[in-house]
């Protein structure tokens, strides 16, 4: 608090500038939200919410705007990516923190983080050239499928899950592990019964962030999922997600068709909001209540 009293004009100015910059970032988010809703909401109300969300037929040139198949597509692909990404990511971080010698951790962690830097179009390309033909030849179907999309996305979300999980696992105090071992637990028991529960919140946060990434991913998904606007019946069926619907058709869409794509954006927006709400609430409490309180009252 004496820092505040002694604040020079320069300090105040800089604080002011930084605040403005921070809030302009948030206001951009606000503007995007308003824009999407203004563009997309009229069409949803015109054709009715149930008709928009539950109708399976997407034929914009025939004035049929049903996105049920795309909602299901997004759910299938995301679920698939989670099934592949969570065990891989969490076990990878458990190995790196609990078992791996320091030198291996030092080498492996940056490599996994490097995965995040690979452009998604490259993932998509690998999917089209190697994964899709493999699935077509060995498992049937057209190859471009839910399975291909899930595998690619499962790999793409690894760095998100591993990065945060490692940090959380490392943050578990060593006394926990020592205590468990002293009570006679084996290494695995100590991890499974003590360390993982202690790191639960962080690991869940990493999974939620990974899920957000999987839902939002577009380019790689367009390339490997085949994009048929049908509700998939097996993991070998092609599928279209909400994001690919927007990206595929935006280039040519006009009038109601374009609005329908913005409406798809609204649904996607709501999806992401629901997933991130837990997360957001924590952040709101921290930054909007706790920090200002500290700043002004203390």
């Amino acid at each position: 608090m004496f820092v505040k009293d002694n604040m020079s004009t320069k300090d105040k100015l800089i604080t002011c500038v930084i605040y403005t910059v921070a809030f302009s970032a948030i206001s951009i988010l606000l503007l995007i939200t308003i824009f999407i809703f203004r563009k997309g909401a009229p069409l949803i109300f015109k054709i009715g919410i149930p008709n928009f969300i539950m109708n399976k037929t997407w034929a914009p040139l025939g004035s049929q705007y049903g996105i049920f198949s795309m909602i299901m597509g997004t759910i299938w692909i995301t679920a698939g990516a989670m099934i592949i990404g969570i065990p891989l990511g969490v076990s990878c971080s458990i190995y790196l923190v609990e078992y791996a010698p320091l030198i291996i951790r030092k080498i492996l962690k940056p490599i996994i983080e490097l995965l995040a830097g690979i452009p998604s179009v490259v993932y998509g390309f690998i999917g089209v050239v190697m994964l899709a033909p493999f699935i077509r030849i060995h498992m049937g179907g057209p190859g471009l499928s839910v399975l291909a999309g899930s595998i690619i996305l499962g790999i793409m979300i690894l760095p998100t899950i591993v990065g945060i999980s490692i940090d959380t696992l490392q943050a578990v105090p060593n006394s926990y592990r020592e205590g468990a071992l002293a009570l006679g637990a084996t290494k695995w028991q100590s991890i499974y019964k003590v360390v993982l529960p202690a790191a639960r919140n962080g690991i869940i946060a990493s999974i939620i962030l990974g899920m957000g990434r999987a839902i939002g991913e577009t380019m790689a998904v367009i390339m490997v999922t085949g994009n048929s606007a049908n509700v998939p019946h097996s993991i070998l069926d092609p599928v279209r997600t909400l994001t690919s619907n927007i990206a595929l058709e935006m280039g040519y869409a006009t009038g109601d068709h374009q609005q329908a794509l913005f409406s798809t954006g609204i649904v996607l927006f709501i999806f992401i909001m629901i997933i991130n709400t837990n997360h957001l609430l924590k952040i709101y409490f921290y930054y909007l209540l706790y920090l200002p309180l500290q700043f002004f009252v203390l």
Binding site: V128, P133, G226, Y252, A253
Partner: protein, 266 residues
């Protein structure tokens, strides 16, 4: 320290701003529209600029409907459109057919089929025929690969071949001619359709009703899947716009169009 850097940047940018308006006065025009014709227009513009120093021709994409809109609003001097039938709002524009683009049906090179009748093709794309055996091929499931709704190629394909028949919803959707071609070339059971200019040796082009999509057959009108490519101007073209259109319609320009895979205008 920072101040110095800012001053340096400012001084560096100053001449850019001050003198950007000067320089040699050169004539320039903008073309916008059809993504199918865009690469060919770029090639033609390049050749034209090589021959005529001091002019500049900008070629932008955006799609056929944007081409029409920008010609009407005057955003572009020349709009490009590749539709089978121009919408009514284009009636006020001057229209020039500068080339014709064939849409060809392509399959995997290992497929034994080399011809389909119109009816067979319609039944395949509507999902009624699902196995190559039914049209005299091997016992293999047909994978249909199409473009997204709204695409110029898909709209033309519908107008020329499918008419009122709906494309099956099982079709895989790809977002460009190139990706349709790549996917057909990697799937032995696939069938798709692309612009004739995009065909390469990785896919097999099949005849429709026994007629091959050759230049000769498109000229006589025997091959039906042909769409005209229009250049559109708001009023009677003048100056550079006129001489560029004349150049495209000249034998030089038409030669470039033919050698890059499209069909000539006449």
């Amino acid at each position: 320290m920072f101040k110095k850097i800012y001053i340096c940047i400012f001084l560096l940018l100053l001449p850019v701003v001050l003198f950007s308006g000067c320089g040699k006065k050169s004539e320039n025009i903008t073309l916008a529209g059809s993504t199918a014709f865009q690469p060919f227009a770029e090639k033609l513009a390049e050749e034209y600029m090589k021959k005529n120093a001091g002019v500049s021709i900008n070629v932008q994409g955006g799609g056929s409907s944007m081409g029409i809109q920008s010609a009407i609003s005057g955003v572009a001097n020349i709009g490009m459109a590749d539709m089978v039938a121009l919408p009514p709002e284009a009636n006020t524009l001057k229209q020039y057919v500068v080339a014709r683009d064939g849409i060809v049906i392509i399959i995997h090179p290992s497929n034994t089929i080399s011809n389909l009748t119109t009816q067979q093709a319609q039944k395949i794309f509507s999902g009624e025929i699902t196995n190559w055996q039914e049209v005299g091929g091997e016992n293999k499931k047909i994978t249909i690969i199409s473009r997204e709704e709204g695409s110029g190629t898909r709209t033309s394909f519908h107008a020329l071949l499918l008419q009122d028949i709906k494309l099956t919803s099982n079709a895989l959707i790809q977002e460009s001619n190139g990706t349709v071609r790549e996917n057909v070339s990697s799937d032995p059971g696939a069938i798709g359709y692309i612009s004739h200019g995009m065909v390469n040796e990785k896919v097999k082009v099949i005849s429709l009703d026994g007629i091959e999509p050759t230049t000769e057959n498109t000229r006589t009108g025997a091959y039906r899947l042909i769409r005209p490519i229009y250049l559109l101007t708001k009023s009677e073209p003048m100056g550079l716009a006129k001489s560029f259109i004349d150049y495209i319609l000249s034998s030089d320009g038409q030669g470039i169009i033919e050698s890059s895979g499209l069909f000539s205008a006449k």
